[in-house]
């Protein structure tokens, strides 16, 4: 079973999300806890895909 729920948000909505959540890169991936708090983020593209895996391992 996956540990994440997946949501895609595109522009222009992405800009509002980024304004409401600090350190939210566009384009990028942002990990939130169930309260909506930012746990981590990574901008895309990345040089090393391990950055994405590391982000997803953040709890």
């Amino acid at each position: 079973m996956e540990a994440v729920v997946r949501v895609i948000i595109r522009r222009p909505h992405a800009y509002k999300f980024a304004a409401d959540h600090e350190n939210s890169p566009i384009p990028g991936l942002v990990l939130l806890d169930a309260e909506g708090k930012v746990l981590g983020a990574v901008g895309l593209p990345v040089d090393d895909p391990a950055e994405v895996v590391e982000l997803l391992r953040t709890k």
């Binding site: 729920v5 997946r6 949501v7 522009r11 939210s24 991936l29 997803l56």
Partner: protein, 171 residues
């Protein structure tokens, strides 16, 4: 260069799936309304008093409606402007595609529209049809800011975190 970037993004997403597995069916297979749409022109948007962000109108002008399709059965017609699907504001074709991609065939969708000519706002209910298009790329379970709360609620109920993909693509 652009292709390399795209490949890197796809690789990252594939790795993220691999890292957490995907051994359950989340039911997100894609659906269709049976319409084609385009961005309203500057004049059309102004005439219909559409909202806008960064020069892009909120709404998709319906250019064709499939015979016997879900949209036709719901009462949507060519020339109408589709403002929202299930509370998601539609600023681009991608917004509409995303909403349909995470929906299921047979599910009822709420469509907020402005009628051609009168620009009267109405709310329709369409029973979505099955999409014949293959689902490509990463599968998202929710789409748009209006579904973020649903995603957070699901995450809370199941003890999960929420992965938000932010796209800046011009569409």
């Amino acid at each position: 260069m652009r292709r390399v970037k795209t490949q890197t993004i796809l690789l990252c997403l594939a790795l993220s799936v691999a890292a957490f597995g995907q051994d359950h069916d989340d039911g997100a297979h894609g659906a269709t309304l049976g319409i084609e749409t385009r961005q309203p022109t500057k004049q059309e948007g102004a005439d219909a008093h559409l909202g806008a962000i960064a020069g892009r109108w909120c709404g998709r002008l319906v250019t064709s409606v499939e015979a016997e399709g879900p949209a036709l059965k719901a009462g949507l017609a060519v020339g109408d402007i589709l403002l929202r699907m299930d509370a998601n504001d539609l600023y681009s074709q991608d917004d509409l595609d995303d909403a349909l991609r995470v929906a299921e065939a047979g599910q009822d969708a709420t469509l907020d529209i402005k009628r051609a000519g009168t620009h009267k706002e109405e709310t329709l209910t369409a029973t979505l049809g099955a999409s014949s298009a293959a689902v490509e790329g990463y599968l998202w379970q929710f789409a748009g800011p209006s579904q973020l709360e649903d995603a957070l609620a699901l995450a809370k109920a199941e003890g999960k975190t929420v992965l938000v993909g932010l796209s800046g693509a011009e569409t």
